[in-house]
Subunit: 352 residues, 2 copies
């Protein structure tokens, strides 16, 4: 005890000496406070706006006090994230569609009769304007031709080779670099608080399998997406494998999102993030559960740093990631939070 | 150092004194060795047979040395388990079918016109022999009538109330007590070594959701089973909910097992356990992957402690959990391990 008292005395002497330097707090106080805030802030790429506060308060309310009505037991902590336009860039075209267009020459090489058949002829022409005008039916035909009919493992290999090398034209970067840093921080924050994070995408489930773990920290088994059937069979050596079939099993858009969530999770999420009309039912379903729920929707209103499209709020209309004014009104009415890329996000990409 | 040396000297003196008691090892040695083995044995309900050794060696080979060819990185560690007849008792009738039969009176109360229609009339008669003779088509009709047409959450509530109270007649115990203790130890062993454990059952996915976490330590999202479609809609207050539909989305039997595994996991398992013809493709698919894979199949050859059925190896034939001689030969040929309940399991139930 005597040694401790002696230390205590020495400490008081030193503190007294420091107190004699009145300039110290003024010199270092502000910097210290800033450093402390940054260290404690799990969402440093967000501005301090209501959207950020809503996320932090939701996490606090659902995880910190087991006696609170808002508390969610760990096994029920599920958070669902749309991908295209919510976790990464979807303009001018969904990344998976770019992959499919890029694969058309390979498919035509194997089936030369397609070279003169539409829509393959248009794709091969390289006429960007004509390609941009392809109908939904044309795109579906291209998707079926380029995403099905092969061994699942071969598809994984091909898609991986593409995603590891293909680059977006505007930024000249890999598509996997075009993930939104603020949303990466949200994924990490949810996981650090015991939530299982799921991708719930209208895109192809198998396509996202290829990079979800590495890019988002989300394992394949937590990816729910549009899924085609597969068929079990044997190769010439009798080894079992699965073939991707042009048969739609789950259309993970609109009502298909809550339906897919039930199929692959079996629980209503407590939080969901989306950005377009295809996410409406998932956001409703999430927010409609008992207890505290969080539904948030990203508005692309930042043409300078990313893209601006709606047509909500007078933004330009688009076929890719449509956010209608009706959806905007629905969000306001239903207590979802609208995330403005322009106002809520301090930084958009990690490479900025 | 001097203090340590002095301790070392004292220890040597004590050991010398103990060595002067030659009877000591004879008195305690055997008991000590036994206690040490039990503490280190993760599969105490298994006899020391090739099946047990195969499991222990598989875990050791796939998880202990990252430089080994058999090593499986943590994110790829997936083990799949059939449920009925592999994790719990399936005779004389699958537990879920008993649930559906028990629910017939409730369904008939809501739809009185069914009381005089087959197969409902037979079920209501209580004639056990006649019920046992119902065709597969009859059973499917009963399953559709009792498992669909309701809110998913209402189904969960009803199934939970049943599983928490209904008892098997032979043991007069809850069905959830009729889980095989040796397999519970296998589930724990795999999880302790970083494997994600999945149920891959021909039974209804939603039914297993109700108790999988509590009974097997397997969360809902790791249950793959036969799944019907659900439809998104709104109740009279505008609250979104899902209705269970009589539309088959995934028949998780035979080739449907690897197909369901791809849909909900996206990876070929490294280990799989089954017990009947419905598991053949899953066991083939698992064993057919590159690197070290483990496929095991339980043979019910213990009429005294549980049930005996095949018809493999001259055991009685059955419609429930059929294990044919052809499957037995396939297992031998393909390097799967056959688990004999009689010889490999020291104990079958935790309550023994």
């Amino acid at each position: 005890m005597s040694s401790k008292d002696s230390d205590g005395l020495n400490r008081r002497k030193m503190l007294g000496a420091l107190a004699a330097l009145p300039a110290l707090p003024a010199l270092f106080g502000a910097k210290l406070a800033e450093a402390q805030t940054a260290a404690a802030d799990p969402l440093p790429s967000w501005n301090r706006t209501p959207a950020k506060v809503a996320i932090l308060e939701f996490i606090q309310a659902t995880t910190s006090d087991p006696s609170s009505a808002a508390f969610v037991p760990p096994e029920k902590r599920v958070a669902a994230f749309d991908q295209d336009g919510t976790l990464w860039v979807e303009h001018p075209m969904y990344t998976q569609v770019v992959y499919c267009l890029d694969r058309v020459p390979v498919v035509v090489k194997a089936k030369p009769e397609l070279a003169d058949a539409e829509p393959f002829k248009t794709v091969l022409s390289g006429d960007v304007e004509a390609i941009a005008k392809l109908s939904m039916h044309d795109l579906e035909e291209i998707l079926a031709a380029t995403l099905t009919g092969m061994d699942v493992d071969d598809f994984y290999d091909e898609a991986k080779a593409w995603i590891d090398s293909a680059k977006d034209r505007r930024w000249n970067r890999l598509y996997t670099e075009l993930v939104y840093q603020p949303m990466q921080e949200v994924l990490s924050l949810f996981r650090a608080n015991g939530f299982k994070t799921y991708i719930v995408t209208g895109g192809g489930q198998d396509f996202v399998h290829v990079y979800s773990d590495r890019v988002y920290g989300i394992p394949r088994e937590q990816v729910i997406g549009t899924a085609g059937g597969v068929t079990y069979g044997y190769d010439k050596d009798g080894r079992p494998f699965l073939t991707k079939e042009p048969k739609l099993l789950l259309n993970d858009n609109f009502a298909g999102k809550p339906e897919g969530i039930h199929l692959e999770i079996g629980r209503r999420p407590h939080a969901a993030f989306g950005n377009s009309t295809g996410d409406q039912q998932m956001l409703e379903y999430t927010r409609g559960g008992h207890g505290l729920r969080l539904s948030m929707i990203v508005l692309h209103d930042d043409a300078k740093r990313e893209y601006a499209y709606g047509p909500a709020q007078g933004l330009p209309d688009t076929r890719v990631g449509t956010f209608t004014q009706a959806l905007y009104e629905e969000a306001k009415k239903s207590g979802w939070f609208i995330i403005s890329m322009k106002n809520d996000w301090k930084r958009i990409f990690a490479f900025e």
